[in-house]
Symmetry: C2
Subunit: 207 residues, 2 copies
């Protein structure tokens, strides 16, 4: 036998699935055998969905979110607050913020964070176009909703430096103890920050 697979077609399919993040050869094999048990049209639909997406995907001209149209549904929505931009790393973060239902402004998807280790510099990200959006005017606040990693922080401060000269409020999303977390298990840096950035008690107002 050529290696452990009884069929080269099978081996090829398993190899492709094993390239997915977090998928090993055993899981890939499970996926392939699952699909083999489905009928032909189901498998074709699966294969076509991803190829079609790759071929026809569009990114919003304004915020670079994935979109079916030239300008995405958020950017073109008349009820959204066009004076606020929430800067995020990727479209998954757009979905995460949307899911909170706490934000009614627009987004700006960077497409990553500055990471010299991975060879990603500011010019590889959508920072220039963010500066242009601010330059065009009408933006009152830019909220930086980036990961609290070194890369996220670096990117956030880089953007702040770039936008310092413009009449726009810059803010970072709050960092502190997660809802439901116990104090004794929080790390010192997070706990320290949450004391420094404590929120005052306001009568008749939810925290």
């Amino acid at each position: 036998m050529n290696g452990q697979y009884s069929s080269t077609l099978l081996e090829k399919a398993v190899n492709e699935f094993a390239k997915l993040p977090g998928v090993g050869r055993k899981t890939a094999m499970r996926f392939v055998l699952h699909l083999l048990r489905q009928d032909q049209p189901t498998v074709e639909a699966f294969g076509n969905a991803i190829v079609t997406l790759k071929r026809e995907v569009k990114y919003c001209r304004v915020c670079h979110n994935i979109s079916d149209t030239d300008i995405c549904q958020i950017c073109s929505h008349p009820q959204r607050d066009a004076s606020t931009i929430c800067v995020v790393e990727n479209i998954r973060d757009v979905m995460a913020v949307e899911a909170t239902q706490q934000y009614k402004g627009l987004y700006h998807v960077l497409g990553g964070v500055i990471s010299p280790m991975d060879g990603i510099g500011p010019s590889d990200l959508q920072i220039e176009s963010l500066v242009n959006r601010v330059k065009e005017g009408g933006i009152q606040e830019v909220i930086l909703a980036l990961s609290t990693t070194m890369e996220g922080d670096t990117t956030g401060f880089y953007i702040c430096r770039k936008l310092e000269g413009y009449d726009v409020k810059l803010s970072f999303i709050a960092r502190g103890i997660s809802v439901g977390d116990e104090l004794e298990y929080a790390d010192e840096i997070t706990l320290g920050r949450s004391i420094v950035n404590r929120t005052p008690y306001i009568k008749n107002n939810e925290m």
Copy 2:
């Protein structure tokens, strides 16, 4: 927005991936975004691998293992012991037994186990063709290597009943304490069986 996705193409692709066993919408999203970051040929290769497999897959005429040829490489291998058949549930089990490098006979892939709950009866499995292989002669032993579940046991005993009339040795793979397991954590049934089916000490021989 239509639901949480900013693009229907994206939603479609995520839905397809979320149908895979053990994959939720978050993981599916990760897979899709990973593939979106690859270039067009890579994504096409991924999509085609599974469609091509489904379209062109062959099953060995003798043992029903997945194969590129009419008769698989194991069944047609001149060095393998054609007098022994190891009966397994699916091709993953063939690979598991092959990986042990302890077995040099042939296989017979049932394609499942008898499971009335799932509507799978003996006629849905490759049991008839196993009986025919024995009937044709030349087989000295049939080893039942099925899961130690109720369905696996049922299937094993059903096959034994079917083959009782033929001059063939029937055996089940050994059940007992796994190598590396501690006795105190073994369940009573397994431990009980491993005492009943204890293996005698043989001088100058590995256990």
